[in-house]
C-alpha cells in the first residue's frame, strides 16, 4: 500500500519534471521564431499599401523582424512626433524631414549614423546625404528616401499644334511663348496668388541662370542676393510674366494646375511631384519636360533639386539593432526601385530602375542639378529664405517691386541671422 503511494508520488514528480523540461525546451526552440516588432511612423498615409509590400520584401530576408507602418495626417505629424519624442516614447523608426533640424527640433532624439553602421550610404549622392545631416551638430541621422525636382513640364500636343519645340535658351523660351500666345494658347498655366508657388517658379525657370557657382559663393560668404546673377535672373522672370495665366496675380495653385491639366496652357513651371497629379486629372495628357533654359548656349543647364526626407532611428528605441537592419534595407537599390515604381517618386539611390518613362526622364535631368536654393540652405531660421523669396517675387511680378529691391529685401532678412550677410 505504502509502496504503491510512494511509487505514484515518484512517478508524479518525474512526470512533472518531464513536463517542465519539455516546456522549457519548447520555449527555447520557439524563441528564434518569435518576430521582433518594430514601428515606423510616417506622414504619408497614402503610402500604406505600398509599405506593406516593402515590408514583406524585407521580411523575406529577415523573417525575425516585423515592421508596423503607422501614418499620421501630414499637418499634425510634426506635433505628434515631437510630443512623442520629447516624452521619450515614439516609434523605433521615424520618417523625418530633410535639412535644418530634420523637423524634430533637437539631435538628441535620434541615433547618429555613419557609413560603418549603414554602408548603404555609399548608394546615395552626396547632396542626399547632406540633406539628412543636422545643421546644429553636422551629424548624419537618416537614410534619404525621395527627391523632388523643379523643372518645366510641357504639353506635347500643344507644342506640336503650335509647331514649337522645347527651348534650350532663355531667348528661345521667350520666342516659344510668343508663338504659343499668338496661336491662342496660354504659354504658362502658372499663377502667383499662392505664395509658395513663387519659389517653385524661380527654381523651375531660373536655376540655369542663377547657377551652382552663385550658390557656392553665397555659402562661402562671397556673394549675397543682391548679386547680378540673382537679380539679373529675376529681371528675366519679370519679362516672362506676360506669358503666365491671364490675371496671374489672382490665379491660385489649384486654378493654375487646372489651366495646365485641362490642356489650356502649354507649360507649367513646377515640381516633378506635379506629373502624377496632372495625369490623374487628365490621363490623356502627353507630357514632356525640360530643365530651366540657359542664358546663352553653352552654359550649364540645371534643374533645382531637394530631398523630401529620410528614415531615422529613435534614440529611445529598445530595438536599435533590428531598426538598423531595416534602415540598411531602405538604402538598397532593390528598395529604391520598388519605392520609385510603387509610389511614383524619385528615389535618390544609385542603380534604381524606373518603369515609368517620365520618372526616368526626371532622374536623367537630376544628373545636372543645383539645389533648390532657399529650401536647402535658408530654411532653418525665421525669416526663412523661402518666405522672403516667395513674397518678394510675388510682389515683383505684381509690379510693386523691382528685382533689385527683392534681392536687397531677401539679403536683409537672411542677414538677421546669417553672419556673412551682416554688414
Amino acid at each position: 500500500m505504502l509502496a504503491g503511494v510512494l511509487t505514484r508520488s515518484i512517478l508524479r514528480r518525474a512526470l512533472g519534471k518531464l513536463a517542465l523540461t519539455a516546456f522549457a525546451a519548447a520555449t527555447v526552440l520557439a524563441a528564434p521564431v518569435q518576430a521582433e516588432d518594430l514601428t515606423l511612423w510616417s506622414w504619408r498615409q497614402e503610402d500604406k499599401a505600398a509599405y506593406a509590400k516593402f515590408i514583406e520584401a524585407f521580411r523575406k530576408k529577415h523573417p525575425d523582424i516585423n515592421v508596423k507602418f503607422e501614418a499620421f495626417e501630414a499637418a499634425n505629424y510634426p506635433t505628434v512626433l515631437s510630443t512623442a519624442l520629447a516624452g521619450g516614447t515614439g516609434p523605433d523608426i521615424v520618417q523625418v524631414r530633410a535639412y535644418g533640424t530634420l523637423g524634430v527640433g533637437k539631435p538628441d532624439y535620434l541615433v547618429p549614423l555613419d557609413k560603418t553602421m549603414v554602408p548603404e550610404f555609399e548608394n546615395f549622392p552626396a547632396s542626399a546625404v547632406a540633406a539628412e545631416t543636422m545643421r546644429s551638430d553636422g551629424k548624419l541621422y537618416a537614410v534619404p528616401f525621395a527627391s523632388q525636382t523643379m523643372l518645366i513640364i510641357y504639353n506635347k500636343d500643344l507644342f506640336e499644334k503650335a509647331g514649337v519645340t522645347p527651348p534650350a535658351t532663355w531667348d528661345e523660351l521667350v520666342a516659344v511663348s510668343k508663338t504659343l500666345k499668338e496661336k491662342g494658347i496660354t504659354p504658362f498655366g502658372n499663377g502667383t496668388a499662392t505664395s509658395w508657388q513663387n519659389e517653385t517658379i524661380v527654381g523651375a525657370l531660373l536655376s540655369s541662370q542663377i547657377g551652382k557657382q552663385f550658390e557656392q559663393d553665397v555659402l562661402a560668404g562671397k556673394a549675397d542676393f543682391t548679386d547680378p546673377r540673382f537679380v539679373g535672373a529675376l529681371a528675366k522672370l519679370n519679362e516672362l510674366k506676360e506669358y503666365f495665366a491671364p490675371n496671374f496675380s489672382g490665379v491660385d495653385y489649384a486654378a493654375s494646375q487646372q489651366f495646365f491639366a485641362a490642356g489650356r496652357a502649354a507649360m507649367f513651371a513646377g515640381g516633378s511631384f506635379e506629373l502624377a497629379n496632372f495625369l490623374r486629372q487628365n490621363p490623356k495628357l502627353k507630357l514632356g519636360m525640360f530643365a530651366s533654359p540657359v542664358a546663352k548656349a553653352g552654359d550649364e543647364r540645371l534643374v533645382a533639386l531637394y530631398y523630401d526626407g529620410g528614415y531615422a532611428i529613435n534614440a529611445a528605441s529598445k530595438k536599435k539593432d533590428a531598426a538598423l537592419k531595416f534602415l540598411r534595407f531602405l538604402g538598397t537599390p532593390e528598395f529604391g526601385t520598388a519605392f520609385s515604381n510603387d509610389l511614383q517618386n524619385i528615389s535618390p539611390i544609385k542603380g534604381v530602375k524606373f518603369e515609368n518613362p517620365l520618372l526616368k526622364e526626371v532622374a536623367a535631368l537630376n544628373e545636372q542639378a543645383m539645389s533648390y536654393i532657399m529650401l536647402v540652405n535658408f530654411r532653418y531660421q525665421e525669416p526663412t529664405g523661402s518666405v522672403l523669396l516667395q513674397s518678394g517675387v510675388q510682389k515683383m511680378l505684381a509690379g510693386k517691386a523691382t528685382p533689385a529691391e527683392v534681392g536687397a529685401e531677401v539679403t536683409k532678412g537672411i542677414g538677421t541671422y546669417y553672419a556673412p550677410f551682416k554688414k
Binding site: A75, G105, S195, P246, S249, G250, V251, E382, T384
Partner: protein, 330 residues
C-alpha cells in the same frame, strides 16, 4: 406610533430640543445646500480649469522660454514679448497684421453692422414676404466658414469667377479685377465675403432689439410727424443701443481673432505678399510653422497669442463698459 415617528423628524421636535440639536439640523441643511451648490459648480469649474484656464497658463508660461520647434529650450524672460513687439524681423509683421485687424474691424463695423441694422429695419416693418427674407438673411450664418471661403474664392476667381462675369454682363467689364491677387482689393474682398457670411447675425440681434421697442413710442413719434429717416436715426437707433453693445463687442472680438476666412481665401502667408496678413494668421504661422517655408516657433507664437488675448480682453471690457453707459445716456 407612526405619527410619533414622523413627529420625531419634524422641525418642531428639533427646535424643542436643546440648542445643540438646533444647530445640528441647520448645519445639516447648510451642508446639503453646499453639496448641491458644489454639485452644480464643480463640473463646469473643472471643465473651465482644464480646457480654458490651464491652456492659457501653459501658453503664458511657454512664452517665457526659447523653443526649437516643439522642443522647449532655456528660460528667456520677456525676450519673446519684446521680440514680437519691437524686434528686428517680428515687429514689422506684428504691427502690419495689427493694422490689418484694425481695418477689418472698422470696415466690418461699417459694412456688416450697418447692413445688419438696415436689414433689420427692413424686416421689422414686415414687408411682403418678410418671413422668407428673415430666413434668407440668416441662412449664410449657419454655413461653415470653410464652405463660405471656398465659395467666395470661386466667385472671385479672375478668369471664371461669378463677380467678374457679372461685371462683364452689365457692361462694366472694365472693372474686372484679380480681386484676391492685388493688395488694394484683397483685404476688402475678404471683408465683403465675411460681411455676406455674418450679416444675418447683427440683423437678428437688431431685429430682436427693435421688437422690444414699445409700439406706443413709435406711434407717438409718427403722430408727432417723424419722417422715416428721423424715426430710424432719432428713435430706433438710440432705443436699440443694447443691441449695438452686443454686436459691436462681438464684432471686435471676431475681427481681432479673425483666422478661418483669410486662411482659406488668402493662405497662411496672407497672400499677396502679406497684404491680408492678420494677427490670427501671423500667430498660427509663427507657432506651428508653414509647410511651404516657415518654421515652428512656439515661444514667439505663444507670446503673440498672450498679447492678443490680453489686448482683446482689455479692449472688449472697455468697449462694453463704455457702451453700457451710452445705453443709459441714450
Amino acid at each position: 406610533m407612526r405619527l410619533d415617528k414622523r413627529a420625531g423628524l419634524s422641525p418642531e421636535r428639533c427646535f424643542n430640543r436643546p440648542g445643540l440639536m438646533k444647530t445640528d439640523y441647520r448645519s445639516r441643511e447648510r451642508r446639503r445646500r453646499a453639496a448641491w451648490i458644489a454639485f452644480l459648480i464643480v463640473p463646469p469649474m473643472a471643465m473651465m480649469l482644464t480646457f480654458v484656464v490651464w491652456p492659457l497658463l501653459v501658453a503664458l508660461s511657454s512664452a517665457f522660454y526659447r523653443w526649437e520647434g516643439m522642443a522647449q529650450g532655456e528660460f528667456v524672460g520677456l525676450q519673446n514679448f519684446s521680440d514680437v513687439l519691437f524686434g528686428d524681423h517680428f515687429a514689422a509683421l506684428t504691427w502690419r497684421a495689427f493694422r490689418h485687424n484694425l481695418f477689418v474691424f472698422f470696415a466690418l463695423f461699417v459694412v456688416q453692422n450697418t447692413a445688419g441694422f438696415l436689414l433689420a429695419w427692413f424686416i421689422y416693418r414686415e414687408p411682403f414676404g418678410f418671413r422668407f427674407h428673415r430666413i434668407a438673411i440668416f441662412m449664410p450664418v449657419i454655413l461653415s466658414t470653410v464652405l463660405v471661403g471656398f465659395l467666395w474664392k470661386l466667385f472671385l476667381d479672375p478668369n471664371f469667377g461669378l463677380i467678374n462675369q457679372l461685371l462683364e454682363m452689365i457692361g462694366l467689364g472694365g472693372l474686372r479685377q484679380p480681386w484676391l491677387g492685388q493688395e488694394t482689393t484683397a483685404l476688402p474682398a475678404l471683408v465683403m465675403a465675411n460681411a455676406w457670411h455674418w450679416v444675418g447675425f447683427p440683423a437678428l440681434v437688431y431685429l430682436a432689439g427693435m421688437q422690444r421697442i414699445p409700439r406706443e413710442i413709435l406711434e407717438a413719434a409718427k403722430l408727432d410727424g417723424c419722417s422715416g429717416w428721423q424715426m430710424l436715426t432719432r428713435v430706433v437707433w438710440p432705443l436699440v443701443a443694447p443691441s449695438t453693445t452686443i454686436t459691436l463687442t462681438l464684432l471686435f472680438i471676431g475681427a481681432f481673432n479673425w483666422f478661418e476666412l483669410p486662411y482659406i481665401m488668402a493662405g497662411l502667408d496672407g497672400s499677396p505678399y502679406g497684404s491680408t496678413d492678420v494677427l490670427g494668421l501671423y500667430f498660427y504661422r509663427t507657432a506651428f510653422g508653414n509647410q511651404s517655408g516657415g518654421l515652428q516657433d512656439f515661444g514667439h507664437g505663444n507670446a503673440l497669442a498672450v498679447l492678443m488675448f490680453m489686448f482683446i480682453a482689455v479692449v472688449a471690457t472697455l468697449i462694453t463698459q463704455y457702451l453700457r453707459r451710452r445705453e443709459i445716456a441714450l
